[in-house]
Symmetry: C2
Subunit: 296 residues, 2 copies
């Protein structure tokens, strides 16, 4: 059974198209690597690349791309609105098929070592690969950004997991995580306070569901608001549970859920899981989705 992993490296270059294409060339036409998307932004001066492929193919293309990035990106000269700490800022590995999180964790750590040997990058292990619980969260790791990172990585609490902070490439967060689902639930109220309260009721940090991050967001053009969420592990906190709980919380404020938005990609299993719940399908094997047989 062929293993498939998704990888979403973020590069600190979103302005120079020539440099962008040179980085992307490391992912083009490589055995076992499919480039699904790359998008970049001038204000952020950042590029997000989405890859899917076989572990060894993805790994080899990353070693090459980190090498190209080292030649083209100098963090001493980097400016942009998005928080960042490295030439390759973050590099998550996500299990897609015939792989679990622990295999992605191994792959991430091995890849970090190979890139360190080839191009002398420094790494933090983050998310499911974090070496301590205070090092799980990317925002906490990145606090202080590139400019504060040299000093921060000298503290015992923030020592790099592989290599050291470098003036040119900074430091990179690498690790395994579950696929994110960006799911927004729409409310028939223009009162942002209510959307914010509901987001707090359902999100993990305030006592809600374990794998939900969320905020209230205003949608002034439509005169409504939304609970905008990242579901960080849909296998354990499924979409239906989040959706039904928001309906229940909304009742307290006399507000109704009027629909939702799905942003970007979601794994097929999330859709199958939804049908399984709403239809109460007994003994459903997720391989009963026809297309799963076509992907072998």
């Amino acid at each position: 059974m062929k293993k498939l992993v998704q990888c979403v490296p973020n590069f600190s270059e979103g302005r120079d198209k020539e440099k962008i294409e040179k980085i992307i060339d490391a992912f083009r036409g490589k055995d076992g690597v499919k480039l699904l998307d790359y998008s970049f932004d001038k204000d952020h001066n950042r590029m997000v690349v989405t890859l899917v492929g076989e572990p060894k193919g993805i790994q080899a293309s990353l070693v090459e791309a980190f090498g190209v990035a080292k030649k083209l990106i100098d963090m001493r000269k980097h400016t942009g609105q998005h928080p960042r700490m490295g030439a390759v800022d973050v590099c998550p590995f996500i299990p897609i098929k015939n792989m679990d999180v622990s295999e992605c964790d191994e792959l991430a750590k091995e890849t970090a070592k190979l890139i360190n040997e080839a191009h002398d990058y420094g790494f933090f292990f983050y998310e499911k690969s974090a070496s301590a619980s205070h090092r799980t969260n990317l925002a906490k790791l990145r606090k202080g950004e590139y400019e504060g990172m040299k000093e921060k990585t000298l503290e015992a609490k923030w020592l790099p997991d592989v290599g050291t902070f470098k003036e040119d490439t900074g430091i990179t967060a690498i690790g395994a995580r579950m696929p994110l689902i960006a799911f927004n639930v729409l409310l028939d109220t223009d009162n942002l306070d209510i959307a914010t309260k509901i987001s707090k009721n359902v999100r993990h940090i305030n006592g809600g569901l374990r794998f939900v991050k969320g905020i209230g967001i205003d949608m002034p053009e439509r005169g409504i608001t939304q609970v905008s969420m990242n579901l960080t592990d849909y296998t354990k906190t499924p979409m239906y549970r989040v959706f039904e709980l928001i309906k229940i919380e909304a009742k307290r404020y006399g507000v109704n859920v009027i629909g939702s938005e799905l942003i970007g990609l979601a794994p097929m299993d999330a859709f199958i899981q939804t049908a399984e719940y709403y239809f109460g399908i007994e003994n459903l094997d997720y391989n009963q989705a026809l297309e799963k047989h076509l992907m072998e």
Copy 2:
């Protein structure tokens, strides 16, 4: 964009394993053809083969398999419980990816001509390929079975669409149809009359939903009953509509829906459609299922 078609030829041989393997060999290791499944039954003396692949690959393997079947199956000697009229009894083409029903219709008709030229088979076009509305339904076409088919195919109403009835191979129904979803909804009553009434309320033939065939079935071991259905075009009569309507009909009898069963494979889009309805997802593009990008 690669086109993918599913084909489910039914062969009138379910007893002789040597013959079965010789027929299946026509589908093994062929370019653009994936053999998903073959299952056979002694009582029925019949084999159902499930193929997915590219139109030209599927077509070529079918021409070969019909040739093998002509050598190995003689309908004059065939007995079995399942109704049948030909050595290859029925051969449906189902659109899977980057194809629609009209392309499957063309493929089915072209394939029938090629097989007729190569091996002198006779064909009825059925389902979406039927040449008249009274010839759509397989059960009606097959009525009288092999034994009555020579005479039946002399009537103007039942003239074959390609070739003629043959003593050895009988006649084959070939055509395009949508993927079937076998979906059973479970009721908390042991009263089969109620299950039967509900099945009549929702099925097409008695005034229900356009693409639903259904019957009531007893499940004595669990002390419950079910509405057992084939959804013959889930794109037009989606699963959620059938499920919610059965809940509404069940109320009349003081009965509750307690779950469901999905038998065999269902297309991924049927699951996505279900999530779209229950979450009210706005502007959902079915390509937002991650795995769709992996199938390119």
